[in-house]
Amino acid sequence: LTFTTLTFLLFLPVVFALYWSTRDQRRRNLVLVLASYFFYAWWDVRYAALMAVASFVDFLAAIGLERVRSPRGRRAILYTSFACSLGLLGFFKYFGFFAENARALAAAVGITLTPFELNVVLPVGISFYTFQTLSYVIDVYRGELPATHDVVEYMAYVSFFPQLVAGPIERAGHLLPQFQTRRVFDYQQAREGLHYMAWGFFKKLALADNLGAVADAAFGATATADAPTLAVGTLCFAFQIYCDFSAYSDIAVGCARLFGVQLMRNFAYPYFSQSVAEFWRRWHISLSTWFRDYVYVPLGGGRGGTLQRVRNVMVTFLLSGLWHGASWNFVVWGALNGLAVLPALLAGRKARPASDVPGGESLVPGPVVVARMLGTFLFVCLTWVFFRTRTIAEAWTALRRLVTGPWTGAGLSAALEPVQFLFPLLALFVLAEWLARRHWHPLRWPALPRPLRWTAYSVLVWMTLALSRAEVGAFIYFQF
């Protein structure tokens, strides 16, 4: 099931009613698990079975880690869990990539390999739930979290449908305790949840899908598109991926609140960042913090000599790039971001926390702040070219054409033609986000009387429907 369907809008109230009409906490968890598996099996029932098996292995591994005392035995259990989780992820996501590269490498030294080809479809959300189960096992191994012996609450943690397919990637330490305590319905939380969802739907249906159509047209003909078309396409893609992915997170966070569950914040106005390092504290926060806690810090983090710190940063960003997809483009994208983060890290500059007001407290930012924000945004846009294209050569072609032009007035007019209604809407969206950047989302109008608020919400709902495309696009991060 996907959020942007009528099916989901019927599914949600049914689950909501079943959930809150059940008083017993364990039964509520069971309702969530059954609903989540139904939600996931809507794509393919076989992948639901795969998720169940993968989850169960880590459930047993965590119990084993608690019972076994010897370090060697514990390590054996940990590595077995890694082998299962990462093995499945590797098989479904990276097998083709590594096989193809092995073939190319062998061909370069004169050896002909015919690798075994697999035509398997990547199970939706496998990267997300694998990282959740991994973090659970690692936390239990480190002694930071007791293993749960209740398979229902554990399954609810792994498969909780609002965030199952595209995050936020929750940590067991944050989400699991919520399934272990009795949840009480909170009017304000539920109302806030609906606001999140409404804003998420607007971003996805009204903005992301329309921007995506322009980006697709530009990147569908990289070799022939002129510079203004590619520039507009890149800009559209930058906002498409932001609106698309943050929309999913917003809907997930909002949906979870309807069930009395708090999910972590995944986006904190990343395009108002003043440096690439800050961008990564505001973009896909759940993934960035995952890599920080389970890769960067164990590697040594900011400790040690310069070379060691550079290695730690680059390994983290390269793996983060590879997590997004089995392609060299993602590796290069990760590497570029890693290189951009390095100077601030090596200089030992203290990072601004994501909870800070992005772009500063002032309503009208100063020229230095504006320059920093624009510079960061420009860099991020250029790296998105690697993210959007399929091969390094294609990315390089697009970047070369962007730089070398030609930049003509006629070309620019033609490139802006398809976005003449989108860019004003986008400008309003950016303004709304700027004004609301102290809060998690812009739909906060507590001072307005109810008739006005409801009118505004109704306008948003109908504007979202009116601006949506006939064929709603899948969320971009489903492919990861």
Binding site: T5, F185, Y457, S458, A466, L467, V472
Partner: protein
């Protein structure tokens, strides 16, 4: 919780009121005259035409491409042209026909290639649009269509709102696609004076025989049920532009061969025409193309020997939008 449910209920009720207002405004301005509203007229025609009849079942290639009066005159049986839109899918067309099949009926199936392939049993927004305009069409809907319809359900409000917005800005769109373009036998005549637009820019895609397994099963099931009720079924492949036919001649030959083998149905010869005989798509024929296509169907039916000239033509009841004399 009560407060939350009350608030959400009230807000949803408000949205339902808006939705009903939008749909009513759309229906009054455009929907009642929409091309797809002819579904209702065709359903009435099917109910009121006594058997034995010739039922033409398929999509818009039948609506645009057949002169039912000529067939009626030649074969001496009333003709009901049920062809409307390929996007409604094969299931809806077959179920609509199946519901009223009677002893002695002849069904000429002429499904477009798209719905015969895998994965695209119908076009979601088109079918939703049909159901919103003529809700009684839901009785011919297969339950398996519902999940897919719900998955794409958000497309309908957008279609309504954009159509209304355009109507407010520029009035009724200039188009031939109106309900009034159909005659009393269900043939579409609204385009006949417009000449050829070269068959549009899109090419007809034909699925391979291997991809048609599911469609064959459905066609075969329909044929069995038709025979049980004493009706005959023939397949008349839709007309195809010569360039598309040439490009896919082997695929097409194998495709219809597979249909014959798997369903046991007789498949008439397909009608290949130059693009100048097509109107705005590779399925919609011009006046001349229509004449040739009709002639081809007539020859095929006669050759099949399923209808003799002896049967007298039954009087045809006129539905609301009938245009006499065309």
């Amino acid at each position: 919780m009560k407060r939350f449910l009350r608030d959400v209920g009230a807000f949803l009720a408000l949205q339902v009121v808006v939705a009903v207002a939008v749909e009513t405004a759309y229906h009054r301005a455009l929907g009642a005259h929409n091309y797809m509203a002819a579904f209702e007229d065709k359903a009435k025609l099917l109910e009121t035409t006594p058997p034995p009849r010739i039922l033409l079942v398929g999509g818009s290639s039948l609506a645009f491409g057949v002169n039912s009066a000529a067939i009626e005159r030649a074969l001496g049986r009333p003709v009901v042209n049920l062809g409307l839109h390929a996007g409604l899918g094969l299931d809806l067309a077959l179920r609509q026909a199946e519901r009223s099949l009677a002893q002695g009926d002849l069904v000429v199936l002429s499904p477009e290639y798209g719905p015969l392939g895998p994965g695209l049993p119908f076009h979601t927004v088109t079918l939703l649009h049909q159901l919103a305009i003529v809700p009684s069409a839901a009785r011919d809907l297969h339950v398996s269509s519902v999940p897919r319809l719900l998955d794409g359900g958000l497309g309908l409000p957008r279609q309504r709102l954009t159509a209304l917005w355009d109507y407010v800005r520029v009035g009724r769109p200039v188009s031939v696609y109106w309900r009034e373009g159909f005659n009393r036998r269900g043939d579409f005549l609204g385009h006949l004076d417009s000449g050829s637009l070269g068959g549009g820019s899109e090419h007809v895609w034909v699925p391979t025989a291997e991809l048609a397994t599911d469609a064959c099963a459905r066609l075969g099931r329909f044929a069995r049920r038709a025979r049980e009720r004493g009706a005959e079924v023939l397949i008349a492949p839709p007309p195809i532009p010569a360039d598309d036919r040439e490009r896919q001649s082997e695929t097409i030959a194998r495709f219809w061969q597979a249909v014959t083998q798997r369903t046991g149905l007789r498949v008439l010869e397909d009608v290949v025409l130059p693009r100048s005989r097509f109107f705005d798509s590779g399925y919609h024929l011009t006046r001349q193309g229509r004449r040739q296509h009709t002639g081809s169907i007539l020859r095929g039916v006669r050759a099949a020997g399923v209808v003799t000239r002896d049967a007298p033509a039954a009087p045809v009841a006129s539905p609301r939008t009938a245009q006499p004399g065309r």
